[in-house]
C-alpha cells in the first residue's frame, strides 16, 4: 500500500481479512455501530482499561519478555484499586459495577 501509493486501494472487506479493522458495516449504520461499540467499552473499568491499553501498546515497543514484564507492572499497579474489588462483587451480585472515576 505504501509503495503503490494512489495507484491501488484496499477495500473494507480486504482490510477486514487483513485484520486492519475488525468490523465492516453498511455506510448508513456506521455511526450507530460505533456508538454501540463505544458504549460497550464504557461499561468497563476505566482504570483497568488505561493500564491494559498501555500494556498492549508496550508489546510493540519491546521484546516479548520485556513487554510481559512491563505488562506485569501495569497489572501490579492496579492492586489495591477499588475497581478490583468492585468488579468481582458486582459480577457476583449480578448488577452493573460502580467504577471509581479515573484519577
Amino acid at each position: 500500500m505504501a509503495l503503490v501509493g494512489r495507484h491501488e486501494r484496499i477495500s473494507a472487506t480486504r482490510a477486514l481479512e487483513l485484520g486492519m479493522l475488525s468490523q465492516v458495516v453498511e455506510p448508513d449504520a456506521l455511526r450507530d455501530t460505533a456508538q454501540d461499540l463505544a458504549e460497550k467499552i464504557a461499561l468497563n473499568s476505566p482504570t483497568a482499561m488505561a493500564h491494559t491499553k498501555r500494556a498492549i501498546w508496550g508489546a510493540l515497543e519491546q521484546g516479548l519478555t520485556d513487554a510481559c514484564k512491563a505488562g506485569a507492572s501495569e497489572l501490579v499497579a492496579m492492586w489495591g484499586h477499588p475497581d478490583q474489588v468492585e468488579g468481582p462483587r458486582a459480577f457476583a451480585e449480578k448488577r452493573e459495577p460502580d467504577w471509581t472515576p479515573r484519577a
Binding site: 475488525s22 473499568s45 491499553k53 508489546a59 516479548l64 505488562g71 501490579v76 468488579g87 468481582p88
Partner: protein
C-alpha cells in the same frame, strides 16, 4: 514425581499430553493446578520418550483463568502476587522454557487467563465450538500478559478490541482462524483430541533437533521489538 489432581498427564506414543481436568470449575486454576502446570510441562520436556506436547482440556471450557474463589480462601493470593511481581507465572510451556514443540488444542470457552495458552502455544488449533473472550476489564482487572503475547502474533487491532470490549463480545473459532489466533478449526468438536494427536505425530516425524532449533530461533525473534 508429582501426583496430579487437576490435570491428566500421560504419554500417548511420542506425544506427552496435559489435559485440564477440573471441568466443574471450567478448568479455572487454583493454587494446586498452577503448581501442576509447571510440573507437567517440565516432566514431559525431560522425558526422553516424549517428542511433542499437547495441552487440551476436558469439559465445556478449555480454561477460564484463575479461580477467584480459591484466591480468596487460600494463601494462593500471596504466591500469585509474588509470581506476578517477579513475572514467574509457570503456567505455559513458554513460561517454564519447554524446548519441545507444544500443540495447544482449545475447546469451548477460553476466557481471560485461558488466553495464556493461545499466546504461548507453538501451534494452536481449536474445536469449532471454541470461543475467545477477555473479561478482565469488565471485572476491574488489568489484561496484560496474555494480551501482550497475543498482540505480537495476531492483528494488533483485534487483540486490543477483545481486551477493551471485555465480556461484552466474543470471538468465535472461525474468526479466530481468520485472525491467525489458531491455525486450524476442527469440526465436529469431538474430533479435536484425535486431530491434536495426529498433528503432534506429524511434527514428531521431523528431525527433533532441527525442530527444536527452529522453535528456539522463532521464539528468540520475539525478543526483538515488534
Amino acid at each position: 514425581v508429582t501426583t496430579y489432581e487437576r490435570l491428566i498427564v500421560e504419554r500417548r506414543g511420542v506425544v506427552g499430553w496435559i489435559v485440564n481436568d477440573r471441568p466443574e470449575r471450567l478448568n479455572a486454576y487454583d493454587d494446586r493446578m498452577r503448581h501442576e502446570f509447571r510440573a507437567a510441562y517440565l516432566q514431559h520436556d525431560a522425558d526422553p520418550e516424549v517428542e511433542v506436547l499437547v495441552h487440551a482440556a476436558n469439559g465445556r471450557a478449555f480454561q477460564v483463568g484463575v479461580d477467584v474463589a480459591d484466591l480468596a480462601v487460600t494463601d494462593g493470593t500471596a504466591r500469585f502476587e509474588r509470581e506476578m511481581a517477579d513475572f514467574d507465572l509457570g503456567l505455559t510451556g513458554w513460561h517454564v522454557g519447554v524446548t519441545k514443540p507444544v500443540v495447544v488444542a482449545i475447546n469451548g470457552m477460553c476466557a481471560g487467563g485461558g488466553l495464556h495458552w493461545v499466546a504461548d502455544g507453538d501451534i494452536v488449533i481449536a474445536a469449532s465450538d471454541a470461543v475467545f473472550v477477555d473479561p478482565h476489564v469488565s471485572v476491574g482487572q488489568v489484561s496484560a500478559i496474555e494480551a501482550v503475547g497475543l498482540a505480537r502474533r495476531a492483528p494488533f487491532e483485534a487483540v486490543m478490541r477483545m481486551c477493551l470490549v471485555g465480556s461484552h463480545e466474543r470471538i468465535d473459532a472461525r474468526r479466530a482462524r481468520q485472525l491467525g489466533l489458531v491455525s486450524e478449526v476442527v469440526d465436529p468438536p469431538g474430533e479435536l483430541h484425535a486431530r491434536a494427536q495426529a498433528l503432534a505425530e506429524l511434527v514428531a516425524s521431523n528431525d527433533p533437533h532441527v525442530v527444536r532449533e527452529a522453535k528456539r530461533r522463532l521464539w528468540d525473534r520475539q525478543e526483538a521489538p515488534a
